[in-house]
Symmetry: C2
Subunit: 455 residues, 2 copies
């Protein structure tokens, strides 16, 4: 360790006391997130911030010593944005877990960043409200992390993305300055919208130390759930697109391709599905949910499929098991690189066809699930060993390029992080990337905030 | 005119030909927007851009000569953001009026910035869709201008603000660089969200030359409209808050205070309303609209009011006449300065009480209407003469400070422009204002973009 790093550590210990950890096990854990990847070396230290003041203190020392900072929530990201390597200072807000306020009249919550998404949702439901953004990791992911990554989820298709749920943010900038962005009001256009800019900024602009988020009234009526099988992925993609084009707004519309479905069946020790068989899960909520689900089912039938509709919550849970078993089924077979491309909904079938071609060309199986109502696909690459093999990277790159060619984007909801950084310039172009870097410099002139990620 | 200004004009004429106007009548018109204010002097010239290339050409010359640029849409803004004074080059996109595409399957439209909001909405409705942002000026306001100001409207309460409707933007930066921000996809988190940053940036970052916007399926079922009277503004504010807190999501929830109502009645030559009488307009859409409206009416009755409910479109139009006559009624009595504060919905009654106190203290009547479902108030200051009298500015300032004290904001949907710039630092603070200026400099290092507005 250099003399300056050593001096920085001494200052951090003085400023933070027990909130600073040098525990090797903790440092080792901070090398990784849920992407399956890890940094080559462990970071310098971890700040387990208890308050915003701890974050301020940590960033002041970091700025004084030009120490690279990696903000970290619950560490459940899928793009490597929280992976911390050599000489990095990890600033974790995972222990700032208080729900400060649930304001039922104004339908908002004020929370610390370490609050787990599912816990906020549960607290809101006690007052007839819910927190709409529902990433698949909602039981483990933190509010701060999901805002920093712009995380999506199943219900975005009806209730919008994370950006739309964030009203205001408390942020600590690289030099330790605290700022409040946004409003507690439903509307507000005072100055540039820095709240929206922070959402999805992946720790490159500052550390989120508080959030005021919108809550939504729980819809009246039952939830109707359809689990359907269609004869091919093309038929299922076409049915999804038709359901959305009909004006229906399902609360979830999920597609599981044949390869994924076969893997799930193996994992659950079920009989193998029919060749080409593709699974579609549709949930409708609100007082018209029964009618809406009948309409969706009719569209599925018109596309050669059929399914079962239930309004019984326990029965619906069983139908959801197939979708929920996807990630465990993948992880049971090896390490998984999860891609996250999005295409216009109408191009979903073409994107599946492209993935099939890429799979054949590169000799790599690519089981894929999709938030079909949003045109957001998760092609999965399963591999063995500690690092992603080059043929897998090449196939992943081809998938990304195919999405771009269909008018799509690199990442719908996971973020760029470290793992997708290599593709960024292809989507944004050199001049926009330079502009994004200038904007980052306006927040972080020394470039210490998450320097390995995104920009 | 200096030699350099003269050289700049020569280059503009060469580059733009007939798209450049020096017509004194047009230059005089560009001094003003719909705020009732105007710049002291006329601008240098107006570019009536026909294409994005015209904008590029204009901004290259502007950058070469450090010519201040005022982007302009339809000129219907209410905060002076498009008012152009001495030596300014106006870049108008009002003549870029093509709807390039309505994609019914993906529920989006691709438009040039000069398309009028109501025209896009009408074109979308032919395909069973609509464009949700509906500023009161929708019949005259352009898409580009409403995006640049982050304009709101009546239906934000159910369908969200303009930011949520914008998927992608084509932008020309100060130096003439063209950039594409955002995605055609429903989701996307690739890099910093510069689309959201552009919304509400009021011409300070670049010129919007194209937009990809989200369309929404027209809800099935009838629209139910309630026109109600309540005995006081406090009762009406409480009823509004209770309607929203009940979980109902009306498509519009508008409040007209006693002073405004009396002015409207005078303007329409109706009998004077009862003293303290406050008008509430509620619209519910969707298949449950009748039930929802009955629930809203029950809440109004529980607050001492009563009203009439109709599902007949022609009858509803008549009920809407009162709300629609507000601005004409104000303008009939003099020049109007329209404020635009927003407060948390639950503080609406307190805000009305504060306005009443400020009115008495300053000896200035302040008729006020509110998008009550959003807590967004428009206090109006009517005056005679060409400039806003100082007592009016002082009262407007007191209104703004009262909103801030209630956890509110300076502007809910009109923007800061030139007229509210003086208040900006009070809401943002010095350090955030400095940060916003650094971000502007990342887009516009010479500071030529709308230099009189906002920052």
């Amino acid at each position: 360790m250099t003399a300056d790093r050593s001096a920085a550590l001494t200052e951090l210990i003085a400023a933070l006391g027990p909130a600073l950890s040098l525990d090797p096990t903790e440092l080792d854990a901070a090398r990784a997130d849920k992407s399956g990847q890890r940094a080559a070396d462990a970071p310098l230290a971890i700040v387990h911030a208890r308050t915003a003041d701890d974050v301020v203190a940590a960033l002041r020392v970091a700025t004084a010593h030009r120490l690279p900072v990696v903000p970290r929530g619950a560490g459940t990201g899928l793009a490597g944005g929280a992976m911390a390597g050599r000489d990095r200072l990890v600033v974790s807000t995972a222990r700032m877990t208080r729900i400060l306020e649930i304001d039922a009249v104004n339908q908002l919550a004020v929370v610390e960043p370490g609050v787990i998404v599912a816990e906020l949702d549960a607290a809101a439901r006690e007052q007839g409200l819910f927190y709409a953004p529902d990433p698949a990791s909602r039981a483990w992911a933190s509010i701060g992390g999901t805002i920093a990554t712009g995380a999506g989820g199943l219900m975005c298709v009806k209730y919008g993305v994370t950006r739309e749920a964030v009203l205001a943010l408390d942020v600590v900038l690289a030099d330790g300055t605290r700022e409040r962005f946004g409003h507690r009001t439903a509307k507000g256009v005072t100055g540039l919208d820095l709240t929206a800019l922070m959402v999805g900024s992946e720790g490159t602009l500052g550390v989120i130390v508080g959030a005021t988020v919108r809550l939504t009234p729980v819809p009246r009526g039952e939830t109707a759930t359809i689990a359907a099988m269609l004869p091919s992925v093309v038929a299922a993609a076409a049915a999804s697109s038709a359901i959305m084009a009909s004006g229906l707004r399902p609360a979830a519309l999920e597609l599981i391709d044949p390869l994924s479905l076969a893997a799930i069946h193996r994992h659950l020790r079920l009989e193998a599905p029919a060749a080409g068989g593709t699974h579609l899960l549709v949930q409708c909520d609100g007082e018209q949910s029964g009618d809406d689900a009948e309409r969706a089912l009719a569209i599925i039938r018109a596309h050669g499929g059929d399914g079962r509709l239930t309004t019984d919550p326990a029965d619906a849970e069983r139908l959801l098991t197939v979708r929920r078993s996807f990630h465990p089924a993948m992880e049971a077979t090896g390490h998984v690189l999860i891609e996250d491309v999005a295409v216009p909904r109408s191009r979903l079938a073409e994107m599946f066809a492209a993935i099939e071609r890429i799979s054949a060309d590169h000799g790599v199986p690519i089981p894929t699930v999709a938030h079909a109502g949003d045109g957001n696909l998760h092609p999965n690459f399963v591999y063995t060993g500690d690092t992603v093999p080059e043929p897998v990277w090449r196939a992943a790159h081809a998938v990304f390029r195919a999405a771009l060619a269909l008018g799509g984007t690199l990442t719908g909801e996971h973020g760029v992080g470290v793992l997708k950084k290599r593709h960024l310039v292809e989507e944004l172009g050199e001049s926009q990337l330079a502009l994004q870097r200038r904007i980052k410099a306006a927040f972080d002139p020394l470039g210490i905030m998450n320097p390995d990620a995104v920009l």
